[in-house]
């Protein structure tokens, strides 16, 4: 298993080759490889996006990514899994995340890659801040409806 947080632009395909070249050539148990790559768009909702800051919680992020991949390994009996996630300042077209899994059969690899991505989006402590033509804004999760509460009023 490989979990890595990188703070500079990386080449996901080279990372994949570097990690798995020997196994893919020599491991006769691997029948399926599945890869998901997330890259940065230059638009979101109603705005042009010119840049993005990706923040994370060092230590907790790695722990959760490791737990997420371990869960997928057990659930889908995959042979191995890899997650590389970018942090820092990004530009459109930059790779954000690569998830790859290897298994005996395709269903396991497809499902494990999907599960890892969904769990990562729901649990791993990363936050995106976009730079748009209207200024900076923190990205909200798709299903979030952020409200605020007034602590002063609640205390009364």
């Amino acid at each position: 298993m490989k979990i890595e947080i990188v703070d500079e632009r990386f080449d996901p395909w080279q990372s994949l080759v570097d990690y798995k070249k020997n196994d893919l050539q020599n491991n006769p148990k691997i029948g399926a490889s599945s890869v998901f790559l997330g890259t940065m768009r230059d638009f979101n909702e109603d705005s042009d996006v010119t840049g993005m800051e990706l923040q994370h919680y060092p230590g907790m992020t790695e722990k959760y990514l490791e737990d997420i991949v371990n869960t997928a390994i057990k659930k889908y009996k995959i042979i191995d899994g890899l997650v590389i996630h970018r942090v820092g300042m990004l530009e459109p077209t930059d790779p954000i995340v690569i998830v790859a899994t290897w298994s005996e059969h395709r269903d396991n690899a497809f499902n494990a890659t999907r599960d890892i991505m969904e769990s990562l989006k729901a649990e791993a402590p990363f936050w995106k801040k976009e730079s748009t033509d209207k200024g900076f804004r923190w990205v909200k999760p798709a299903d979030s409806n952020i409200e605020t509460e007034d602590t002063q009023n609640e205390a009364q």
Binding site: G38, L54, Q55, H56, Y57, G59, M60, K63, H85, I96, V97, M117, L120, K121, A122, E123, A124, P125, F126, W127, K128, K129, W138, V139, K140, P141, S144, I146, E147, T148, E149, D150, T151, Q152, A155
Partner: protein
């Protein structure tokens, strides 16, 4: 007199902007839940209702009681990937 408990507090993303700092060290003299501490820290602020809380790198419920030496983090819903 109670022994003081040392708590390390971290903030991330929009919560960090709201609090105006990345982290702080506190000495508290009574056992507080993570939400009670959050309420103490955010008096006079309009705080996000959906704040997430982690202690020692693990998500916890609002009523989780803090112990001496804990690191507690407050942050908004995550948006990675």
């Amino acid at each position: 007199m109670h022994k003081l408990m040392k708590i390390h507090v971290k903030y991330f993303a929009s919560v960090r902007d709201l609090m105006g700092t990345e982290s702080k060290d506190l000495d508290i003299d009574k056992s507080l839940s993570v939400y009670e501490l959050w309420k103490d820290l955010t008096v006079k602020l309009n705080v996000p209702k959906d704040v997430l809380i982690a202690v020692n790198h693990k998500y916890v419920d609002k009523d989780f009681k803090l112990n001496d030496g804990d690191e507690v983090a407050y942050f908004p819903p995550v948006t990675g990937g």
